[in-house]
Symmetry: C2
Subunit: 342 residues, 2 copies
């Protein structure tokens, strides 16, 4: 009597065990689980019973190997701690939590090279879909995305030429709207302050510039930027720099809300009245902008919704339904608050 060869795996039941117990072929079990419609009612019930009794769960690795396709969403973002991307990622996770898809998350650290590297690693898994932040991929990254053989969703921006699908909003318009609001409220010497100027920040700056040039008030000395990572402390420093260059400035459009909060704190510390002497506008509308004193005007963006929408579009594409519109603009919303109410 030959001893059954011990399983290398942890002794989990396999599809063969289920098939035996249900009295059918293994492939029928496989089908019953993946395409219930193609298996007769009777067998389906028997198989389900066997699955439940045995506690069978398909092995994702075996499945990926056999089908040359992993049930994985690859997600690439430039930062894990920046609340903006954390919200997008949360939307993605929430949308996928009840699906069979796993998530492979990568942090590019705002680096195109890192993005290329991660894309190559991700491609090895033959993911079911790829979600990447931004539209400024390197040529190699773009080629990797195009040849990935799966739906691709670029998020956070709009643009004319998506690799596949696109969900986001116009940072240029956001920057222009914010600046126009300051102008409308009577501010004139309006500074732009920004840290870690990634492509999206650059476009907000371009929007700011367009608005300022439209009224003939653009001046390069009004622009203060740094490659350093954003933080509230940095906002304080940048305002000091900006004031040193241009002591008469009377408004600030900040690249993001962290910077804006720093600017607000620095104003208070320096006894500069907000909004009377200086008006402040942030970007993203984090919760704290509403809570601040004075509350801070900001451009609300829909990060969580972008994540959800990206998944919905990818899921539809996987199901074979190419969406009518490959580019979705979720827009933004100017939230007027005390910091510009003079």
């Amino acid at each position: 009597m030959t001893r059954p060869r011990s399983r290398r795996g942890g002794g989990r039941p396999t599809i063969a065990d289920v098939a035996r117990k249900a009295g059918v072929g293994a492939i029928t079990v496989s089908r019953a689980l993946r395409e219930p419609g193609r298996v007769s009612e009777d067998l389906r019930r028997q198989i389900q019973a066997a699955v439940d009794e045995l506690g069978y769960v398909p092995d994702p690795n075996a499945r990926a190997l056999a089908s040359a396709r992993a049930e994985v969403f690859g997600v690439l973002v430039p930062s894990l701690t920046n609340n903006v991307f954390a919200e997008v990622v949360r939307g993605i996770y929430d949308s996928l939590s009840d699906s069979p898809f796993r998530i492979q998350l990568g942090n590019t650290h705002y680096s195109g090279l890192e993005e290329e590297r991660l894309l190559q690693v991700f491609a090895l898994q033959r993911p079911a879909a790829l979600i990447v932040a931004g539209i400024d991929q390197t040529p190699l990254s773009r080629k990797l995305l195009e040849t990935a053989g799966c739906p691709v969703v670029q998020v956070m921006e709009t643009g004319p030429d998506p690799v596949d699908m696109l969900v986001g909003f116009s940072h240029f318009d956001g920057g222009r709207t914010a600046t126009e609001h300051l102008i409308e409220m009577g501010y004139r010497r309006i500074a732009f302050i920004g840290a870690r100027m990634d492509p999206r920040s650059q476009r907000r700056l371009a929007g700011y510039r367009a608005a300022m040039e439209a009224i003939g008030l653009f001046d390069p000395r009004l622009v203060t930027t740094t490659p350093l990572l954003s933080s509230v402390s940095l906002g304080r420093e940048l305002l000091r720099d900006a004031l040193a260059k241009m002591p008469s400035l009377d408004g600030v459009f900040c690249n993001n809300d962290d910077i804006a909060l720093g600017v607000l704190f620095e104003c208070r510390r320096a006894a500069i009245a907000v909004p009377k002497t200086i008006g402040i506008v942030g970007f993203n509308d984090l919760d704290m902008m509403q809570a601040a004193f004075p509350s801070v005007t900001s451009v609300r963006t829909h990060r969580y919704e972008i994540g959800r929408r990206a998944v919905a579009m990818a899921l539809a594409a996987i199901a074979g339904q190419r969406p009518q519109q490959r580019v979705v603009d979720l827009g933004f919303q100017l939230i007027r608050r005390e910091s510009t109410a003079r």
Copy 2:
């Protein structure tokens, strides 16, 4: 002439291709890649040449299937957007970026049931290591961790009875230290304000209580909590609630920095002097506490370092080196600032 059967996979080179080109057996290629020391210098060079020329990269799914062990770190955190856990996760990602290990990240939403569910899903992959937040797993979760057959690191806390390894600090001590500082600075009617009271927050509260009882000043009416998720806005509301219950309070120990910032804003809006009338202490020491005006005293915790350390310990365990100490206390640091300097 039979046509060679087309590969199901995307035509990527396989280990057999490399073996053929290098004139060796497939297994030798496999070994050369995983345990270079066990392959002769000559062959290793030939194989490496073939690998480079072909652009061969091992298929992680096939590898996982054959070895019954995936090169994956499973990571479970209660929130993706809470900066505290985002920092831990960032530390984990940074520590693993140059390793062959992928990361499987799960969001438990502060739910024990979600944690159980995710743990079960993760176990299917036979991960190389598991990192989970907290020490209050459900009995089932704990059993899943114990039988996972891989190193397990619990993070964010200390405790006497780790599943395997543990990296963190004492939230009880942190809460007590924060409270004692307020006492030392002359505050007496010190409130505790906290949102989303997870186990760690509960222990901070216990530390607060211990400090207050030590001087005979504990009063349940000083404690205001809510199950809602933390936010700056919520901090404002909670302070109003706390003042309604106890108008004479003169100090606040906040569960975390978001709440603390909200409390600060509410004080300013209500023209309550800080630190003169009310002293404020936060928890975690986010960057903004130093930038705030007035700057806010907080308990600095080492989240990023916790993530790095957890990975280092897991990596060592994988390499067969059980660490001398299975429990690592990274401590915390009280950072005294203007909000308590009266």
